[in-house]
């Protein structure tokens, strides 16, 4: 405590030892402020926040520089949910004493968390909005808004009181009492709270009071239960009806769900299944296309291989002809060469003998399997010199036949008819040679050839007669 005039610390005397000013009244004022601060501190200690606020305000009226009283007033405001009022007191406190002041920590504590500050501000705005709703007689909206306020700041005494007032106005006595009890837990001796509690207690029925206090059984016809912060009161029989209603609503919900499933989900599932099937069909089609393409490729390759096989078979045949005709072709070619070159070197008879030698060496069995070109060459030679060769063979055969050497005559006559098929005398003598040599079967064949190749001739008639004779004799 210092002198208001010179700033010297005051002693127990009623005057300043520094300047001599009368400080008796000044000291009484400061003492009264301190006394009120102590009173406020005691009330705050027993949660009589409203009383504490009142005492601390009085204390500050005596001495505005009572920092302890101002800081405690801020704390009381903050505890009651009046954050801005608390901040105001702390800011003033800090301005009066900038150093070694706990208000500085309180301010930093609030300002450090911007989210908390925003929440506080939002809560205050909602409360003001709820108050505005009340003034506009929109109680339902006010109740909703106040519930939001209290969910953000459950220690906001003024919001509890306003909500309780709304419940009282709506004659929701139990709910009002619950809110007021919450108020009492924060601020134990608030005048408004006590007033409302008295009103609620007066208006509530004795059984309601007993139920609320947990002392009585309550009315058996009434069922009460808590739903969150709400107390639901309803007739006892209503619960069964509600169960039936719940079951009925549940059944309706299931029916609606099934209808939605049928009308919305099922088509979507069907469509999805169809899309899946389409995808599978597409995949199978692609696979079939691939296999078809493979088959076509294989068929094409098979056709190519078949053609290649045929070509190779033909080539093989050519090689086979050449292999088979190797000796026969040599003789045939030598005969052709002799026919072409021979006239320039030998006379006609020697030439024919040489050609006859080569032609006799040609194997008719091999020639039948030979290349067609050799056939052509063979028959070309016969057309050129066949008659002359046949005549030479016939002459030799005829000589043996006249000498009755039939066995020797047969080869010559056979070759004579072979080289000159127009020679009817050769085949006729050949048939007779076979006949006289005892080769009856060959004789019959020869006679048959005479009849076939030279019909309507004397030799054919005679051959026919001889065949009849042979058949009769059975030789």
């Amino acid at each position: 405590m210092v002198c208001y005039h010179c700033g010297v610390r005051l002693s127990e005397h009623d005057f300043c030892t520094g300047c001599g000013a009368d400080v008796s009244l000044y000291k009484r004022i400061l003492a009264a402020s301190n006394r009120l601060y102590n009173d406020g501190l005691e009330k705050a200690g027993v949660r009589d926040l409203a009383g504490a606020v009142s005492a601390l305000k009085q204390s500050l009226k005596y001495n505005k520089n009572n920092i302890k009283a101002r800081n405690l007033l801020g704390l009381c405001y903050f505890e009651m949910g009046e954050a801005v009022a608390a901040l105001s007191e702390w800011v003033i406190s800090k301005n009066i004493r900038p150093n070694r002041n706990i208000a500085d920590e309180y301010i930093k504590m609030i300002q450090a968390n911007q989210t908390r500050l925003d929440t506080i501000n939002l809560t205050l705005r909602k409360f003001n909005q709820a108050l505005s709703y009340c003034q506009q007689d929109s109680r339902d909206l006010a109740v909703i808004q106040l519930k939001k306020v209290l969910s953000n700041n459950p220690r906001y005494v003024k919001a509890h009181q306003l909500l309780a007032l709304l419940y009282i106005a709506d004659e929701e006595w139990n709910l009002a009492k619950i809110e007021l009890q919450k108020c009492s837990e924060i601020d134990a001796n608030n005048t408004i709270t006590l007033k409302y509690l008295q009103e609620v207690g007066r208006m509530m029925l004795p059984e309601d009071v007993n139920w609320n206090n947990g002392k009585g059984k309550g009315n058996e016809d009434i069922v009460r239960y808590m739903s969150g912060n709400e107390t639901i009161i309803q007739p006892a029989g209503r619960r069964d009806f509600r169960i039936l209603t719940t079951i009925f609503n549940f059944a309706i919900g299931i029916a609606i769900g099934i209808a939605i499933a049928v009308s919305l989900i099922l088509p979507a599932r069907i469509k999805a299944a169809q899309l899946e099937v389409n995808d599978q069909v597409r995949a199978i089609s692609e696979e079939m296309d691939t296999k078809t393409a493979t088959i076509n490729e294989m068929e094409r390759r098979l056709l190519g291989l078949t053609e290649e096989n045929e070509r190779l078979a033909a080539l093989l045949d050519e090689f086979r002809y050449a292999e088979i005709d190797s000796e026969t072709s040599d003789n045939l070619l030598l005969a052709a060469a002799a026919l072409v070159v021979g006239p320039l070197e030998d006379d006609r008879e020697s030439l024919l003998e040489r050609i006859l030698f080569y032609m006799d060496s040609v194997s008719h069995d091999e020639l039948s399997e030979a290349n067609p070109a050799f056939h052509t060459l063979y028959f070309t030679i016969l057309e050129t010199v066949g008659a002359e060769l046949g005549e030479m063979c016939f002459t030799s055969g005829y000589d043996f036949y006249r000498a009755e050497e039939y066995a020797s005559a047969i080869p010559h006559l056979l070759r004579a008819f072979q080289y000159d098929p127009e020679n009817d005398e050769a085949i006729w003598l050949l048939a007779n040679a076979y006949d006289r040599n005892g080769e009856t079967d060959k004789a019959r064949e020869a006679y048959a050839q005479v009849i076939e190749y030279f019909p309507d001739t004397d030799k054919a008639t005679r051959s026919q007669e001889r065949l009849v004779e042979l058949n009769i004799t059975g030789a």
Binding site: Y4, A32, V84, N128, L131
Partner: protein, 53 residues
Amino acid sequence: MIKFEEELKKFHPSLEVEDAEEAIYNQDLTDMTDILLRMLGKAGNYEADVEDN
């Protein structure tokens, strides 16, 4: 019996954070010591005037 309208008049809008500065500046911080000093000052002036006369 509580009258809703009458009770509602006792509730006032809470100060929002934006209003805090204005509320601080407008707060009447005059206390008993200020009044005492003012009274002592006036009393001193009065005694001086009497002595001068």
